[in-house]
Symmetry: C2
Subunit: 409 residues, 2 copies
């Protein structure tokens, strides 16, 4: 038991204690501190005397590189359960919650069988939905690390070339702005290569929710032959509380059987799936809910694949799981799947419809570990990952709203 107040149902119970970075509202970066979240408060680790050389920092990177994370989290737990109650807790409402990590390399994957199958059916309706390599390796690409942003950062509708009926691309705000419901995994420790899947817990520091915002019309024009670029590089949002490997370890479960078996460098003896219930809301209306336990490729395999060629990975690197979708229509983790690229627009409670996102729409993602086990008082989750769409700087007629107006007329 802790003396800190923890509201019932909070994802930030004593079983969680995720790391983050905050500063007092209105202060500058020098006032930033590494904290642990508990309920609706944060514990100032440096003030509590816990490794100030690693916690008087504006990012988690030094702590992640140090391999001292478990020990620091254990000391935070001791403080929160101890007799002494110093002036170390701040209400989270009184601080700015910052991007917790200076992201190194960001690799985004495509590891949900249901998502990849849906996309294949939508984009290549006359072909096999999965390409021949999909069941043999975790397909992924490098994304833009410098535009990873914390929850709450506004999402400016991106401009890019969209092909007209004549095949000519013209610069315009995307009319097909989408979200992608994902989980992100941060690397810790020294740089390493050729990591075996079963060593993943020695190299993964912790997890966050991740929204891989995407512009589908820009993407379809640009992506051949080198993959997505400006269709996804404008922003990637993450939840600001990094749930550590120690906290998520109780929720590791078997991942789906892989048939055919992949090459031996991707074999796992230990369970690397995660029992993690995920949900995405649009303006407070739940669009989809699914569980991460169905992901075909695990983060352990993604780590092994990324380093099999001798490439190193190190503290601050980020892996995106790829969009998490399940087998039923209410488990789809992106608008393009939910509306089948606009063929079946979503009807919201306010009477409006959506093919893709409109300006002023707010997307909120949530994730709780172990919800299969029923309601818990020691919940472990990420808290909300939110983003609100704001208009493009270009004054141009082709927006998502106009498209839906055209569809409904």
């Amino acid at each position: 038991m802790t003396w800190a107040p923890v509201p019932f149902g909070s994802p930030f119970s004593m079983a969680n204690l995720p790391f983050g970075v905050v500063r007092p509202r209105g202060s500058d970066d020098r006032a930033s501190r590494v904290v642990v979240r508990i309920g609706d408060h944060v514990l100032d680790l440096a003030a509590a005397g816990i490794e100030p050389e690693l916690t008087t920092r504006s990012t988690l990177n030094a702590l992640m590189a140090s391999e001292r994370g478990d020990a620091i989290r254990a000391r935070a737990a001791d403080v929160l359960q101890g007799r002494e109650r110093g002036d170390w807790l701040w209400p989270v409402a009184d601080v700015e919650v910052l991007l917790p990590v200076a992201v190194g390399d960001y690799v985004d994957f495509y590891s949900s069988l249901d998502h990849a199958t849906n996309l294949g059916r939508i984009l290549r309706p006359n072909d096999e939905p999965l390409l021949p390599n999909w069941r043999q390796l975790p397909v992924g690409y490098h994304g833009r690390a410098g535009t990873v942003a914390a929850s709450g950062t506004p999402v400016t509708r991106p401009d890019g070339l969209v092909a007209g009926p004549d095949g000519i691309g013209r610069l315009q705000p995307t009319a097909a702005l989408d979200f992608e419901l994902e989980v992100g995994f941060f690397v810790g420790g020294p740089r390493a290569a050729r990591i075996a899947p079963d060593d993943a817990d020695r190299h993964i520091f912790g997890a966050v929710l991740l929204n891989d915002w995407s512009a589908r019309d820009i993407q379809s024009f640009e992506y051949q032959p080198l993959g997505p670029n400006v269709a996804k590089s404008f922003i990637t949002s993450i939840s600001p509380w990094v749930v550590t490997m120690d906290a998520l370890r109780p929720f590791l479960v078997e991942s789906p059987v892989q048939e055919p078996a992949p090459d031996p460098y991707l074999w796992m003896q230990r369970p690397w799936g995660l029992d993690l219930a995920l949900q995405v809301d649009l303006n407070g209306h739940t669009l989809a809910a699914t569980n991460f336990d169905r992901m075909y490729w695990t983060f352990a395999q993604q780590l092994a694949h990324t380093t099999v060629n001798g490439a190193t990975t190190g503290a601050g690197d980020l892996f995106g799981s790829g969009t998490v979708s399940g087998p039923t229509p209410t488990e789809r983790g992106s608008m393009i799947e939910l509306t089948w690229r606009g063929a079946n627009p979503i009807h919201l409670a306010d009477g409006s419809t959506r093919s893709f996102l409109h300006d002023r729409d707010t997307v909120t993602m949530r994730g709780f570990f172990g919800e299969h086990a029923g309601a818990r008082t020691d919940r472990v989750g990420f808290g909300d990952l939110t983003g609100t769409v704001i208009g493009s700087d270009l004054t141009h007629s082709s927006t998502g709203k106009d498209r839906d107006a055209a569809l409904s007329s």
Copy 2:
């Protein structure tokens, strides 16, 4: 004139004065210093009293972000032309030359018309060689920043999945290891978005040679639909002397006319091509020589394209030009083009042949600005970018050498 010795023909004349980072041999990272190269020596800027807060550093990043680069380089020139001769010059042979920049985001392009046409003909012989988007936008993808390494770093032959005749990928050392002759551009200054092409010189700090090492067999299995990943992420080599925008400004020339004209956000009023003679050698045998002035898309347009969607770029970000090839067979900047994917192996002077690179092969790239103007005493160039291939950790039979032995038997 300078009192520092500058050998005739050196690319590091007073007209160049590129920045780099060195440390005395055998010392640790705390002894690293930002220097300017002159002839076969380096000038220790901090020892000469030039902005030690920016030059007593192990990377150029702070200097690049500061926008003080031009002023610091001008002060270095003053010192090298002044009456006072302190103990500020070290022979470059006495220092370790380090990776000069902690690379932020690395975006690699595909901007040579001849290279893209060659690749299209090789990989899709029955189709139009250029895809419909190629003349409308500078196609590019994000590469791995954490494996960018300085010239001289050994290149371990990467392992990855290579498809057999049955379509099944099996882990093996690449049998198709290739180089790509490129130029890299580093960003300086504060983070910025929506940069117009004609503002490129306010945001580009300087240039290096870049070798985008590639494993063609791994790439062909993995790259659909999200682009290359582990086929290119194992290492990217750069020359260690960053030639500043001020030094390369005299060599800016008109780039080729673009037909059809691209969207207006890519229009240029100023010349952003570069008169830069490039050459690539294999074990001392020149394989190809061309000029950067034929590149279809300029670095100014690559910068504009990367930021048109609102994405920011900042100090330490790196843009790769894409492989530089010219229209004739001796101007091809990669083995896959030079040997037409192994159909026409190269015969070296020692009697051996190459489809792709063998273990112990050394690739050397060189680049000199303004060679169209004839021999110069005030040469500006990059110096050598070299890398030697070493064997994979896997003991496996399928290497480039075996492949060529099979071809010649």
